[in-house]
């Protein structure tokens, strides 16, 4: 564990609330990154960052001194982000319905030849990718982001989501299959 983090936690528990500020400043960028990747939304990600550090402060007494604060706060952030997208699920359902529109798939099948069109297609690919991510369940999405984008192991994903490794592996597996199916029209176009 980072010696600075350890010292800051001891100071906080001894009554120096301001010491927690140092931890927030040090880890907020990382927490924002994972929060943004899971929520896919800047405003939601900022909410998640605040929520994660608030929860972290309240649970700080239960923090084990052998653990790594960055991993610990990262897991809390993943939980907060998962809660956020679960709450948002209704909205996501409507977006998935829009994404299944066959006309939209046709728009995605574009010629990559020309420069400006390539840029346009690049934007469409990003949009299609985001739609594909939105089609996943909150747990699948979180597991996929952690596995594919955050390079977390299945064990780490399981620990962060509070599920066993096998369930985490299955969540990643289902997410990959759904993503491939969803992005198949783009592959045909290229």
């Amino acid at each position: 564990m980072d010696r600075n983090d350890h010292a800051a936690i001891q100071a906080v528990l001894a009554g120096d609330k301001e010491a927690y500020g140092a931890l927030v400043v040090r880890h907020s960028q990382t927490v924002f990154r994972v929060a943004y990747r899971i929520t896919g939304n800047e405003a939601d990600a900022e909410d998640v960052v605040q929520e994660a550090f608030l929860r972290g402060y309240r649970k700080l007494e239960g923090f084990e001194s052998r653990a790594n604060f960055s991993t610990w706060i990262y897991r809390i952030a993943v939980h907060c982000a998962l809660d956020k997208i679960k709450r948002r699920k209704g909205d996501e359902t409507s977006r998935v319905a829009e994404a299944t529109d066959p006309e939209q798939d046709q728009v995605q099948v574009a010629d990559r030849a020309a420069g400006p069109e390539r840029l346009l297609l690049s934007g469409e690919i990003s949009a299609a990718q985001m739609d594909a991510l939105n089609s996943l369940s909150p747990t699948e999405r979180t597991a996929f982001v952690m596995r594919h984008m955050e390079d977390c192991s299945t064990a780490e994903i399981g620990a962060a989501l509070g599920i066993d490794s096998n369930a985490a592996k299955q969540a990643v597996f289902r997410a990959v299959q759904k993503m491939r199916r969803r992005l198949a029209p783009l592959r045909v176009a290229t």
Partner: protein, 264 residues
């Protein structure tokens, strides 16, 4: 030859195969699995990492400024906890406050038992509950009505006795005089209570009854054949017995004459 499953290939792609050497050997030997694995790699490689928008160097400070006011001081929390337990100890060791606590606990227990009993009874007799929850519409002045009905009943019996009184027998005269005095007092109470009602028939009947009873109760030298005969004449002239019977019938069936039945 057994092909690799999608799950095994995904595990291989993310470097988490349980037996990576065996998977690699299979991929080298099986063109179909090798082609599928190549497609998987290409598909997943196309899924780019979502790049989070950059946060400036002051972002962490802003987060801290936003959450700091909501965070309690750990030392203060500890102090509050300690103070709380000390206060609790003092409370419990004081005999007065301890007694008060016992009394409060007993009162709470009794209230809970009462509540549980009422809930239990409601569950056992839901019909009673329903009646309690939705009481039938009550007529105005229900207690007065009961008293009045009783008074009219007694008055009717008195009038019947008076009508058939044996004028030669002093035996009937004495109880009639006593009953007349008793009824006179009751009649005045009823008249007073019903003074505000707008039922002229009832008021008239009670007025007639009052004068008859007053005469019977205050007959000089008590009731005798002459006074009884006079009372019978007055009663018959006013049709008082009939009036009282009509009123009793009306009270027993108030809905049959809605214009008058519910006004008492």
């Amino acid at each position: 030859m057994m092909h690799l499953t999608d799950e095994e290939m995904i595990q291989e792609y993310y470097g988490e195969s349980e037996n990576p050497a065996a998977v690699e050997r299979h991929l080298a030997a099986c063109p179909e699995c090798a082609r599928n694995f190549a497609e998987l790699k290409r598909d997943l490689a196309d899924v780019s990492r979502i790049e989070a928008p950059a946060r400036d160097a002051g972002y962490g400070e802003r987060v801290w400024a936003a959450i700091a006011p909501a965070l309690p001081d750990y030392a203060r929390q500890e102090r509050r906890k300690w103070n709380g337990s000390n206060w609790g100890t003092r409370w419990w060791t004081n005999p007065w406050t301890r007694g008060l606590s016992y009394a409060a606990a007993c009162a709470l227990l009794a209230a809970c038992a009462f509540y549980a009993g009422s809930v239990w009874q409601q569950q056992r007799h839901p019909g009673i509950t329903a009646i309690k929850q939705a009481p039938a519409p009550q007529p105005k002045q229900p207690i007065v009505l009961v008293v009045l009905d009783d008074h009219l009943d007694r008055s009717e019996r008195f009038l019947v006795q008076l009508k058939h009184a044996d004028m030669e027998s002093g035996q009937t005269a004495w109880p009639l005089g006593d009953e007349a005095r008793s009824l006179l007092a009751a009649n005045r109470v009823c008249r007073k209570n019903l003074a505000a009602t707008s039922d002229p028939e009832l008021s008239t009947a009670l007025d007639h009854l009052d004068s008859l009873l007053a005469e019977a109760a205050n007959a000089p030298g008590g009731l005798n054949a002459a006074s009884i005969a006079k009372l019978q004449d007055e009663m018959n002239a006013d049709g008082l017995l009939f009036e009282v019977r009509v009123l009793r019938t009306r009270m027993a069936h108030p809905n049959e004459n809605p214009a008058k039945g519910g006004t008492i």
